[in-house]
Symmetry: C2
Subunit: 173 residues, 2 copies
């Protein structure tokens, strides 16, 4: 991975995340990265290939996170850790998550598979805790999660993240 490849990925992520995939021409990415437009296609084949490369990097990060999660042994702690995830997203990863969430709304790119491993972990933990309907309970938590993530990623500078998390913590006690 050369410097220029990294520059292309960085610029693409930044632009895709703020304006949306379809609104960003490859010419703009090249300009932002200080690179000729042709180089994008040399390295990533086409515009969709760029997006794939971006998602690949992100998915690897996510997988690490999931493994860390599976280290937690108490079911309750596991659920809490999942619910608080959006509040602990590293700020440098905001662009990636903004991109993921924005793509969800476009039929063509919608990819549900990303959330599945988390759902499985949740169901397992909820079953262990003898919840009556672990699946519905898991889907409800995942819905919360989407909401928290949206709020953090979109209104992070308006809404007080810490105060929100504090209020949330009081709820499950």
């Amino acid at each position: 991975m050369t410097e220029k490849q990294k520059a292309i990925l960085d610029s693409a992520l930044k632009l895709f995340a703020s304006k949306g995939f379809d609104a960003v021409p490859t010419s703009a990415i090249a300009k932002e990265a200080g690179v000729s437009e042709g180089l994008i296609f040399r390295h990533f084949e086409n515009k969709a290939g760029l997006l794939n490369a971006l998602m690949q990097v992100g998915k690897e990060k996510l997988q690490e996170e999931m493994e860390a999660l599976s280290q937690i042994n108490k079911a309750e702690d596991k659920i809490v850790a999942i619910m608080e995830m959006p509040f602990h997203i590293d700020e440098e990863d905001y662009p990636f998550w903004r991109l993921v969430y924005s793509l969800k709304w476009q039929n063509e790119y919608y990819d549900d598979e990303m959330g599945k491993p988390m759902r499985d972990i949740l169901i397992e933990a909820l079953t262990e805790l003898k919840y009556r309907d672990p699946e519905a309970e898991a889907d409800l938590i995942l819905a919360y999660l989407d909401g928290f993530a949206t709020t953090v990623l979109l209104k992070g500078d308006i809404v007080d993240k810490d105060r929100l998390l504090q209020t949330l913590r009081k709820k499950y006690k």
Copy 2:
């Protein structure tokens, strides 16, 4: 509002909602509506004007909903009604809300003002119920709301809406 104007708006909403505003060319809208492309610009000036017209219609619908909400006099009922809103969205309005939520993720179109009146109503109700930090509590509920809406609009056919709502209802009792 002529038949063809309505056809244009319908087609635009359908396409924008499923593919995203930037991914849909005016030519595709015209074709879907069975209309010449020029007519779009005659009636709506430009592509952004089309979007504005769409949002205008939607905002009027929303305003009606808000007035219905203010009719509820018990603060508790008001909060419950707000929290359950996403589960009671009329299915014919799904495209509109999908469009709204997809636009949130694009800097250029992001419009926060739409959620404000709801936040005010929430804060008022929570203050009446003597919550310690009504603002944070309101923001938390709004975060839930975003999550519920996302789930209903995006996974409405995968996740069992009614079962989810039932599970949610058990929580606040």
